[in-house]
């Protein structure tokens, strides 16, 4: 009896790949630096029909490595992670041969972040206050190839566009409008690789927090946020 009980318990905790064999199974990756949120996401997503959580990571670098080793369909990624941020991870993931869809799940999901998500190639951006069911719906939508990015208001789009060098402004407009990348590449006659590089360069000018900082630069990144405190203005140390 006792051993049976234990086994049953273990069985409920372990994933059971046997039942996941159907082709519709959605393999998920969760990336968040807060333990409670990771756990909440894992429990919620794991109990959905046809979803299986294949990986749970606490930082962007680990997640990028995991996704290379394992097939992932959808990654649910927090924007602010220790070290490199969610958009950095998004760009890495979208470069994989069979790229996962990325949902940016952030406490500060606003228009600005949405614009950056569009450039980074994320499929959706969701506020952390959404209901669990909305998150699950979003996962199902992006799997079907839909894009769930809020429309960026015109004044904000104009302001962001002005930050970019002139030759990038058209590309930015196309990315913002949600035109598929293959089509953009064909229209502008460039390779997918070149498109990715240019999008990365753009993000450096657009992002609220530059995502290039590596994990060891975390204090430096914090400093950059503290730019609000009066201090002699540094010459944008992270732009280099």
């Amino acid at each position: 009896m006792l051993t049976g009980g234990r086994d049953a318990k273990r069985g409920s905790e372990d994933r059971t790949p046997g039942t996941d064999a159907s082709a519709k199974q959605v393999r998920l990756m969760i990336v968040d630096d807060h333990p409670a949120v990771r756990l909440g996401l894992q429990q919620l997503l794991d109990c959905q029909p046809n979803f299986s959580v294949a990986a749970v990571c606490i930082d962007a670098e680990g997640a990028a490595a995991r996704a290379e080793a394992e097939r992932i369909d959808v990654a649910v990624v927090d924007y602010q992670l220790g070290g490199r941020n969610g958009l950095w991870l998004c760009r890495q993931l979208r470069r994989l041969p069979d790229p996962p869809h990325v949902i940016i799940f952030s406490a500060f999901a606003n228009d600005h972040l949405a614009a950056c998500c569009a450039v980074a190639g994320a499929g959706a951006v969701l506020n952390k206050g959404v209901l669990g069911s909305e998150l699950c719906d979003a996962v199902r939508s992006v799997v079907r190839g839909r894009r769930l990015l809020p429309r960026v208001s015109q004044p904000l789009a104009d302001m962001l566009r002005r930050r970019l060098p002139e030759r990038e402004q058209m590309l930015f407009g196309m990315l913002l409008a949600g035109i598929p990348r293959v089509e953009i590449a064909r229209t502008l006659a460039m390779s997918a690789r070149e498109l990715n590089c240019r999008a990365d360069a753009m993000l450096r000018d657009l992002e609220p927090l530059p995502g290039e900082a590596s994990a060891s630069d975390r204090p430096q990144r914090r400093l950059d946020r503290e730019r609000l405190i009066p201090r002699p203005r540094p010459a944008s140390p992270l732009r280099g």
């Binding site: 109990c47 500060f108 609220p208 201090r231």
Partner: protein
């Protein structure tokens, strides 16, 4: 004894019990002159006394007048800077900097004293500015810390709670789901509160998108939360001010709008930013009950605004508007100065 002697001149607003220097000098010199004349007459020509008396008297009077004149001239030159110093020292207030003794040149001891006094005022003001700057920077970094903590801890935990409630909802029997939905709504509302408070504490938009966007977001927020409809006119692009000046302008606008919501009793306000090549002007005007008639001392809010304005070399006025009721706050920031201090 000594303390009452110190207080006496202050209490009597400059009319202490002493005789002014000028009076004393003139009296002493006159006495000397009279004594000298008398001595001359009595000792050297006692017998001629009666005949020369009239002539002597005239000479004496003329000499007395001359002495008084010369004394007045010399002593006045000496005393005037002292009087100005006295007057300024009585009313000087570091909260409104830039007050100095006019034409204090070190051409006499008193002039030197006045010039030194001016230097001392300049030094005190510099030190005061430094102290304010440090206090404000400490405030800002504390706000940043609290905001980060709110977001990183409370916000994340609430997110986790929401996720767990969502999961529970799918598993619980129907009759419980209504209650669960209420719990969910409460958790969402507090998450929204946490976000709002964190944003108030740390204006992310200012850093990310610049002053114009941050002021727009701020006034929209007041419309939504405080029920004050803020009509805004922001002449974009606002020239680059430097992060210190931008933060100061933002915080002043924030406090001004808070005051409108709190004291004005008006449901509409106007926020205007205009700039020409060398001056940026921010005005926030409401149509409420106006400032209290008199005697209302500046609170922390107004004092903080003045301090911030002073630090970036801007002029701040809070007055009734030229036309109509209400209050108008006006901040004028000279753009060259801002660039130097930013």
């Amino acid at each position: 004894m000594s303390s009452s002697a110190d207080e006496a001149p202050r209490r009597r607003a400059g009319r202490g019990r002493y005789r002014p220097l000028l009076q004393r000098v003139v009296a002493a010199n006159a006495a000397l002159l009279v004594a000298a004349c008398l001595l001359t007459v009595l000792v050297l020509a006692p017998r001629k006394f009666s005949t020369v008396a009239v002539d002597e008297a005239i000479v004496l009077l003329v000499a007395l007048a001359l002495v008084a004149l010369i004394n007045v001239f010399l002593v006045h030159r000496f005393v005037a800077p002292l009087q100005k110093l006295n007057a300024l020292a009585r009313r000087v207030d570091l909260a409104s900097p830039g007050q100095r003794i006019p034409d204090a040149r070190p051409i006499s001891e008193a002039g030197e004293l006045a010039a030194t006094f001016n230097d001392m005022l300049a030094r005190l003001e510099r030190e005061q500015r430094e102290v304010s700057r440090r206090v404000l920077a400490a405030h800002e970094s504390e706000r940043l810390r609290v905001a980060q903590e709110l977001h990183d801890e409370v916000g994340q935990t609430l997110t986790a709670v929401l996720l767990q409630l969502s999961r529970a909802q799918e598993r619980l029997p129907r009759e419980l789901s209504g209650e669960l939905r209420e719990a969910q709504a409460a958790a969402r509302a507090s998450l929204e509160d946490v976000r709002r408070i964190a944003t108030d504490l740390r204006p992310e938009t200012l850093n990310d998108l610049g002053l114009a966007s941050a002021l727009a977001a701020l006034s929209d927020g007041f419309g939504r939360r405080a029920g004050v409809r803020v009509e805004r006119q922001i002449a974009t692009p606002i020239p680059a001010l430097g992060s210190e000046a931008e933060l100061a302008v933002y915080r002043i606008a924030q406090e001004a709008l808070t005051n409108v919501a709190r004291h004005a009793g008006s449901d509409s306000a106007e926020l205007t930013v205009s700039s020409d090549p060398d001056l940026l002007t921010l005005t926030i005007r409401d149509h409420g009950r106006g400032l209290p008639n008199r005697g209302a001392a500046d609170g922390n809010g107004v004092r903080g605004m003045r301090e911030r304005a002073g630090l970036i070399g801007a002029k701040l006025t809070i007055e009734p508007p030229l036309h109509g009721a209400g209050t108008e706050l006006r901040l004028e920031l000279p753009l060259d100065g801002a660039r130097c201090s930013g």
